[in-house]
Symmetry: C2
Subunit: 94 residues, 2 copies
């Protein structure tokens, strides 16, 4: 079982009105040191796979087909091992 951590951002140069709104809100709260804000999505996908490479291939395909819009968005992936919900918890007794 693997956990894919996916950051999806608008490509550089694509207008980000949500980020601009957050920046204005931060300025209104006197955080004048903030120069730019970009807002994206963060997803965690837990999936079964035989190895990290297989998990990465599957998640990249999911990103291209459903999770991201490749015309205006780019994404970054990290694959880490995860415990499945059906597996035993480690024993916490001393």
């Amino acid at each position: 079982m693997y956990l894919a951590k996916i950051e999806i951002m608008l490509k550089p140069g694509v207008l980000d009105p949500q980020g601009a709104t957050v920046r204005e809100a931060l300025h209104a709260l006197n955080y004048s040191s903030v120069e730019e804000v970009r807002v994206g999505k963060y997803l965690e996908v837990k999936l079964a796979a035989n190895d990290p490479a297989e998990a990465r291939r599957a998640v990249e395909e999911m990103c291209a087909r459903l999770l991201a819009n490749p015309v205006i968005e780019e994404y970054r992936l990290e694959i880490v091992p995860a415990r499945g919900t059906g597996e035993a918890e480690p024993c916490a007794l001393g």
Copy 2:
């Protein structure tokens, strides 16, 4: 100038209907290996600060006051150096 990379997620146990919908959509596309999907936000905040610790303090305050909802959300921060928009680009000539 520093760039804060902020991942904001619903706390474990908080119902995530958006994540459940994405999981169902992935199953409909035959990605049956997907066990769970959680959807969060990802923000990049570029800000002026004297050192990374000052940047982290400022961004943690922004998260608590505006960017995240501490009742149902948790966040992770990473602070990396960034180039300001007014600073010179490195020379690309050979």
